[in-house]
Symmetry: C2
Subunit: 128 residues, 2 copies
């Protein structure tokens, strides 16, 4: 007749890393998501659609990323039926991997504190 | 006749931690800034002014923070000439300290990768 145990709470922590070149954002969660979707599809249009983003917006983000690093992260071929293809350059692969490593390392570093913080939060309804 | 050395670049990394209770933001950089300014002034109105924020906005953030944790982070006394005073509760001090510790720990964990990432960025003009 005991109550069912409460469901394990989702992590209450969101950690976001942004990389700047001067005042300009070079890389952040949205751009990294775009890069990874482009890796998956090789199509800028498809990656943009999957993110609910216009082609022009995706194109501008790519140009900004390419401009911010020592050399382009993406090798872009415009035009064609699919509206342009793009592939990561070796530097693009290196930057993407380094960013994901930074995310993992920073999250790992706060794992214990995250649990302490979660224990101080008011429990919420799972559906809330 | 050698050129002056370039100035040391500012850190290109921005790391932001947010704590959620369910779907609601409980704590993040802005709220922590507000808490610390309230600690410094004991005045909600002054802290809000210093942040370019309306009193009502600060008040709503405080209510939200107080609601999200097991017990209030701030003990609030409304009214009076100064428009309300507030002090951190013991839980408020604990949460604030834990959040700052998480920030420091996560930043420390990516210090090396941050340097690697910085080296891949195109140098920018200091004034840019």
């Amino acid at each position: 007749m005991s109550e069912p145990p409460p469901p394990a709470p989702a992590s209450p922590l969101q950690l976001r890393l942004r990389i700047y070149c001067g005042q300009e954002a070079a890389l952040g969660p949205g751009r990294v998501d775009l890069l990874e979707r482009i890796v998956g599809t090789e199509s800028i249009a498809q990656a943009a659609r999957d993110m609910g983003m216009s082609y022009m917006k995706a194109w501008k983000l790519i140009q900004s990323m390419n401009r911010c690093f020592l050399s382009p992260l993406l090798e872009v071929h415009r035009g064609g039926k699919s509206g342009g293809t793009a592939r990561l350059t070796p530097l693009g692969r290196q930057v993407l991997s380094l960013y994901r490593q930074m995310e993992q390392d920073s999250l790992a570093a706060v794992r214990l504190s995250e649990g302490k913080m979660a224990a101080l939060l008011r429990p919420t309804d799972p559906g809330e």
